[in-house]
Symmetry: C2
Subunit: 230 residues, 2 copies
């Protein structure tokens, strides 16, 4: 095992044992290096990896606010990993779309009708209904709406995976809109479909919500000319 | 943006544009540092992150086999990220189990009866049926059997996510066996269930295969005393 991996293993152990928790601070670089008898370079490499994994936020400056803080952002971590593998072409976009359909239909059918996340989702739809919303703003609100529905199902792993799938294809999704024959027509359709999905969840009709979500996602990619087998 | 992130962005761009592909080699550390006008430390930090993300394998030695090679191992990357976040207790094990049920039932219902992966799955069951298989060997074969079924469904993203969920709780799953009242009885039941699942897929009865897989996973965790809401 290489020395930066020793540092990673030690930090993971501290997290598992509850000696380090979200909001807590890692020991200073120099302290860690001395304690684990590795170079400060190895400590810094381990911290960079943890940052990329969404487990810490590296500190800046000095004083009580300095130091590397433990956070928990699994969505970012999974998103960058997926995005990199989409870039290597190992993960085809059609598989990502199919997985989105799977996770989002499940979430729609398990979302709780009285969940507070649904009020947030309704507010996002109001913003999307406003006149003159720019395409990129619409798409950003769209992502947040879908994530709010996922959160309403209450499974953190499904939420993180869904968020990471969206994040991994953000650039791609934005370019896709260029393929659409008529953005305004598409936007009107998407708006109406979003309201129908939210209504189905609020009426506790999970089965209908799941079907609507699947048709909504598949319809969008079909319109944008992406081949996809379900 | 910090300098190691510049390096990451450059490499991701090369991958997206197809200038770097799986099996190819990164430019030497010194070359990259000069080209991007960053320190060699920053280049090395970026490479460590890519290694942790399963995108490269760092080179050792010199000669034609040296250098950092592009690989594609999304399962390892997602697995380490999930494992770290399970360690921070942000992702509860019950959510992981529920997500396993979701992904594996989908995979069982979409696995192709004539897929070559199923022959591999059958061979794994033979190994598990042999007398005197040690608990840890049984568990390792068990993971490979489930992954072979997922691969038979032909969605690389679902396979990677499933593999990463399993990897994130390997240590946990191994400790769980200590909770089982009677390992031999459990092992016999698991063996029989595995054969039933494989038979259902081979008979092209995806619906039955999906139900059996869900009952199989939920039954195991219930027996081991894990609370889980579905």
């Amino acid at each position: 095992m290489r020395t930066h991996q020793l540092v990673l293993q030690w930090i993971e152990g501290q997290l598992s044992e509850g000696k380090l928790a979200v909001g807590g601070r890692l020991p200073a670089e120099r302290t860690l290096a001395e304690q684990l008898q590795v170079s400060r370079t190895s400590v810094r490499e381990a911290i960079r990896i943890l940052e990329a994994m969404g487990v810490v936020r590296a500190g800046v400056g000095s004083g009580p606010e300095a130091g590397t803080v433990v956070i928990s952002d699994p969505t970012a971590a999974l998103g960058s990993a997926l995005r990199l593998h989409v870039a290597t072409q190992h993960l085809p976009v059609s598989d990502i779309v199919q997985t989105r359909v799977l996770l989002e239909s499940w979430a729609a059918s398990h979302a709780r009708p009285d969940s507070p996340e649904l009020s947030g989702a309704a507010r996002l739809l109001e913003e999307m209904d406003a006149d003159g919303v720019a395409v990129d703003d619409f798409l950003a609100l769209d992502v947040r709406f879908h994530l709010a529905l996922a959160d309403a199902a209450g499974n953190t792993v499904v939420s993180a995976m869904m968020g990471s799938l969206r994040e991994s294809i953000t650039g791609y999704a934005s370019r896709l809109t260029g393929n659409l024959p008529d953005w305004d027509a598409t936007a009107s359709r998407l708006r109406a479909e979003h309201h129908d999905i939210l209504d189905a969840i609020r009426n506790d009709d999970g089965e209908r919500a799941a079907k609507l979500v699947a048709a909504h996602i598949e319809g969008y990619y079909r319109e944008a000319g992406v081949r996809h087998s379900s």
